[in-house]
Amino acid sequence: MESILSFCIAVCIAPFLAAIIQKVKAYFAGKQGPPLFINYYTMIKLFRKGSVYSTSTSFVFKLGPVVAFSTSLMMLLFFPMAGIAPVFSFHGDVIILFYLMGLGRFFTILAALDTASPFEGMGAAREAFFSTLAEATVFGILILFFRLTGSLSFGEFFSGNHAITIMGAHGALLLLVIVALFIVLLTENSRVPVDDPATHLELTMIHEVMILDHSGPDLALIELGSFFKLLFYSAFITRLLYPFQFENVFINALVFYAIVMLVYVVIGVVESITARYKMNMVPKFILTSFALVFFVTILTMEFIQ
């Protein structure tokens, strides 16, 4: 019951959290920025609308948003938000979840290629490329966590005797992991400096250009899915950052979401003070995260015998 409630809260709060980034960016630009509930308004607006479909597209184009949304929802179903056990959890779930995310990506790419647009093809090619690099980092992190905890499940990473906390014996290692995971977050959620979610046109982008032709409820599903995905990665980082557990569930949840918001603020700050990299720099940026994780994993060879 508690788990389902926690899942519902996460689903409801995700669009709100995403607005924080916009607010922070507006603050840096000296503007007032949109209201914090902007994303809810946008969702309602989009849900009310109809759609325009390109004559080039087939059923795959309509499948893309649904699959992408479903896979993001699956991530939240399996992730322990705020120290509360997730709705589903089993040994080995991390592998299938990251692969499900790959499935979402597969269909997003196909939907983009279905429009026969050169821009969207370009975005699709970049998305496919950068995610192969980010995947290596993610599995590097899984290897490390398996070595530390002996488990392959989000639920088990953060509970039990070998729970991963920054206050534990391997806290120092986690610092590097957090940085790596943050880089993956920026990549997978198409944030600056990898991608620019604000420029809604032209060739500068990856993810946004792929969804150019989606409209109405389809677009709303894609946007919602990306809010969930962002929340998942931020929550993952938050679980690594925050070592304490309070007796009271509510205080726990409050502190948890406060730190999640902090992560969002950091994303906003990063977006405000850095420019987007040139495309040929992006692979190097992503590989930095892999180098960090690999280094940490090698370090464990001596720590853990």
């Binding site: 609308k49 109809g50 759609s51 325009v52 479909y53 390109s54 004559t55 080039s56 597209t57 087939s58 059923f59 795959v60 948003p65 649904v66 699959v67 479903s70 929802l73 699956m74 179903l77 589903f88 089993f90 040994h91 080995g92 779930d93 592998i95 299938i96 692969y99 499900l100 790959g102 597969f106 790419i109 196909l110 290629l113 279905d114 429009t115 026969a116 647009s117 050169p118 969207e120 699709a124 090619a125 970049r126 496919a128 490329f129 995610s131 192969t132 690099l133 995947e135 290596a136 599995f139 590097g140 899984l142 290897i143 398996f146 070595r147 392959l152 109405g216 409820p217 599903l221 060879m301």
Partner: protein, 652 residues
Amino acid sequence: MDTLFVSLAVILAGGLSALLLSRQFIIMKLATIATVSVGCFIGLSSAFPRLFDSSSAAEVTWDWLHIFTLSFRVDSISTFFLIPIFIISPIALIYSFHYMENKEKAGRAAVNYFFYAVLVASMALVVASANIVTFALAWELMSLSSYFLVVYDYQIKANRKAGYFYFIFAQGGAMFLFTAFAVIFHHTGSFDFNLISQIPDRVKLLVFILAFIGFGSKAGIFPLHIWLPYAHPAAPSHVSAIMSGVMIKMGIYGIIRIYLLLDAPTPVIGQIVLITGVITGVLGVVYALAKQDIKKLLAYSSVENIGIILIGLGIGMIGVTEKNQAMAFFGFAGAFMHVFNHSIFKSLLFMGAGAVLHKTGTKNINQLGGLMKRMPTTGKTFLAGSVAISGLPPFSGFIGEFLIYYGGFQGIYLHKISFILSILAIISLAVIGGLATATFTKVVGLAFLGEPRTEMAANATEAGISMRLIMVLLAITCLVIGILPEPFVRLAFLGIADIHFLNSYDPASFMVIIRNISMTAVLFLAVFAAISLFRKILYIKKEIGSSPTWGCGFTQGTVRMQYTGTSYAAEMIDFYRPFVPVKSMYSGIHKIFPGTTTYETGVEDVAEKNFQKGLVKPLLLLMAKLRWIQHGNIQLYIAYIILAIVVLLVAL
């Protein structure tokens, strides 16, 4: 055991009937397909119960020519490899009913069916052989019959070259294999497989490496994979399906068999297999991404999957030397599972590519597009196969990869080199998975989606009923294995039951995980269905518009503006540049009134290039110097023979 031989006899009879009935095209096709299918069914019904029967393996021996003994033995490993042989062969043959439509080539089709039957029977004999002579005979029969299948369209020069390539690699591989057998015979003095483990330990590594090269050239490990991208596009699609889906797995079978027979204690073998697997897997998929010819791309993707299987085997072998039962168990089980899965989705994809080739006349991605609307069944089944081969849930490819991951993660607790290799295995599996996604989104997205790039693609029509039926069947199988993996995983577990080291391991706890995987797949489908319903509701009474794709203000869009396969892959290929050299040719502009200028770009296979430079050229140079031996004088040739006999008599 007798039933197995009955089934092989029926299959061969089917092949012969094709030759006899070659005048009646339709009847010939029906008769052959029916007979071979019945034979395969008999074979399957004899093989299947054996998996569940844990008593000792069946054995038969015959004397042949009074000198050699032909002996056959079927244990759990052989039985497991018999299953794809007997399932995929009839299926690919049924597919061929509408694929082989040209009546004028009836005679050639009959010959093709005959060699097909021989290939099926010889593959079954390979996995059933229990001594060196039998194995060598069956192996050669397999190589030769498949050679004739490849050169089906022998009038085309490129196909003859492809056949030649295949022949060289098959026989070159066999040479290494026979060398390995010779070394074994030197030490044991017997042809029997069971005595192989008695050869001294220091020789075992040498024997394994020789056999690994021999089997590897059949399986398509890097850099011995060069024949695959030539042979598969040349062969008819049902032949590519069986060769890529089943025949190259005979190489894998050989590697497993020789490994188990040698029973070598050295950890080097596992390390070699794993590292070869990693190289084969990553480079295979990068080359697949770089290719624009669908069948070439699928051939390289077979190389990639052989790499994944070898990674699984490598994990298993390292697990054995490290005495880590769980690691060994899941490594081997994952490799077996992937062998089974790959035989299904790779056949499906080759059949889809064949349907596209049949209906459009081209297999170049840059000339296709928009086929999903014109060939809906082919498109949907190809999509299913693509998701499966990218290893994504809820389709079958994920299950095998999951087992291998699970085995790899067991190795994370080890020390030093085994630990590093386990990391390497897991990371490269992840990278291969990502690149496979890129490769197959490219094929589906550019060949089947978007707008047709040429007239040929625009005028395509749906493939014949027998082809569609088979593709739908295979696509559904991929989904079923992904959703209900338990019985199939059990099948793989039964397959490895005869690996002695794993006898005492009980995978009960893992079955819980497999049930959870299945639960997750169902859960995902449920969420997917719910969201689809939700989306339907949202669209009730909504205005649905239709217009051309948004061109960012540009209104004169043409189909030639679409992203092509080359541009889609360019950035990724560039990243792997030292291993994947891009070669472009530009004719340039000369004179005042320039003629037609041409520009060509493509990726060179680094292995092929180096073979050419390092092996073929020096060899040709040497052979040219020895040409005087071949002078065309019959008397002297006879003298050579006599001399050779005398020398042999004196020397031995």
